[in-house]
Amino acid sequence: VISDRYRSAVGAVALFLLIAGSAYWTWRMENRPEGYWAALEAPAAWDGREVTLSLFAVESIDDDGHYVLRKSDRRALVEGQTADLRVGDELYVKGAFRASDGRIVETWRVVAEDRPGKWKLAAAALLFLAAALPWWFTVREGRLALRA
């Protein structure tokens, strides 16, 4: 099936399936929100239910026990302890959704302390791959090939 005879057809089908899967996922994420985003769409139905936010960054902190989390261009409003929070911290938060103001009333929180270290390791791995990939692979007769 993966011989040169069927290469174009198999490649086209695989590419189509990949694009279709990506399109479906993107559509689903935009039109069938989950967790906190679903709660914002139907607040009354979600009032008091537990929601979880995973690895959201603290964008701003108010003195009155409220803080704002952000991931990409999405923001979540949270009510909870702010004394030990810093802007930029990445958090896991669980809490009860409150329909009246669209906030999560925090019941549990963990700061992902080593997140900056993870970003540094990702940068190191990218640098390694940038150097290694041309050393590992080459182009021969118009196709990718392993170097000897």
């Binding site: 993966i2 011989s3 040169d4 290469r7 198999v10 490649g11 695989a14 590419l15 399936l17 990949l18 899967g21 990506s22 399109a23 479906y24 996922w25 993107t26 689903r28 994420m29 935009e30 979880t52 995973s54 690895l55 952000r70 991931k71 990409s72 261009d73 999405r74 896991y92 669980k94 963990v110 992902a112 302390e113 080593d114 997140r115 270290g117 993870k118 390791l121 990702a122 190191a124 791995a125 990218l126 390694f128 791959l129 290694a132 990939l133 590992w136 692979f137 021969r140 007769e141 196709r143 990718l144 090939a145 392993l146 000897a148």
Partner: protein, 166 residues
């Protein structure tokens, strides 16, 4: 995900025992889901945060590449770019690398936010929760060092064998 250094080492360290010429393919497979999903989606997220005119849905486009569905299709497409005589082996090693990647990923605990391993057939989130999501950060530099030493020893052993033959 565990950090990419750990992912690379899960492929490179055991392969230092065999020295297989397909080691780079296994290593590429072990980071393929992150390279094709996390890298572009995080880059787009950074652009969105900076106010660039990027549609908010754009980062989602790459998410399926961090699921077995997209990663396996990616392996197939990548393998098709290689010469026919090596293609089956390349595909096998890429898939093995991707399996290593997801095997390491599901060990983690994201507090209820697992991996959608069965997309598009099931949207459930799965993970074992045995290690923290940042647990690998502490040991990754040591793992990288051990991997470098293992490959260094292999290189010097080969050089020694070559000079003995000559």
């Amino acid at each position: 995900v565990p950090d990419p250094v750990t992912h690379l080492c899960t492929a490179l360290l055991p392969m230092s025992l065999t020295g297989s010429r397909f080691t780079p393919v296994l290593a590429l497979g072990a980071v393929l889901p992150d390279l094709c999903s996390r890298l572009p989606s995080t880059s787009l997220d950074i652009l969105i945060r900076a106010g660039a005119p990027v549609p908010r849905w754009a980062p989602h486009l790459f998410t399926p590449m961090h699921m077995p569905y997209g990663a396996l299709l990616g392996c197939l497409i990548l393998a098709l770019l290689f010469h026919e005589r090596e293609r089956a082996a390349i595909l096998g090693w890429l898939v093995a690398g991707v399996a290593l990647h997801f095997g390491a990923d599901v060990l983690q605990d994201h507090h209820g936010e697992g991996y959608r391993l069965l997309f598009p057939f099931d949207l459930g989130k799965y993970e074992l929760g045995w290690i923290g999501s940042e647990a690998t950060v502490a040991w990754a530099p040591w793992l990288a060092l051990v991997t470098a030493v293992a490959w260094g020893l292999r290189y010097f052993a080969l050089q020694k064998a070559k000079s003995a033959t000559n």
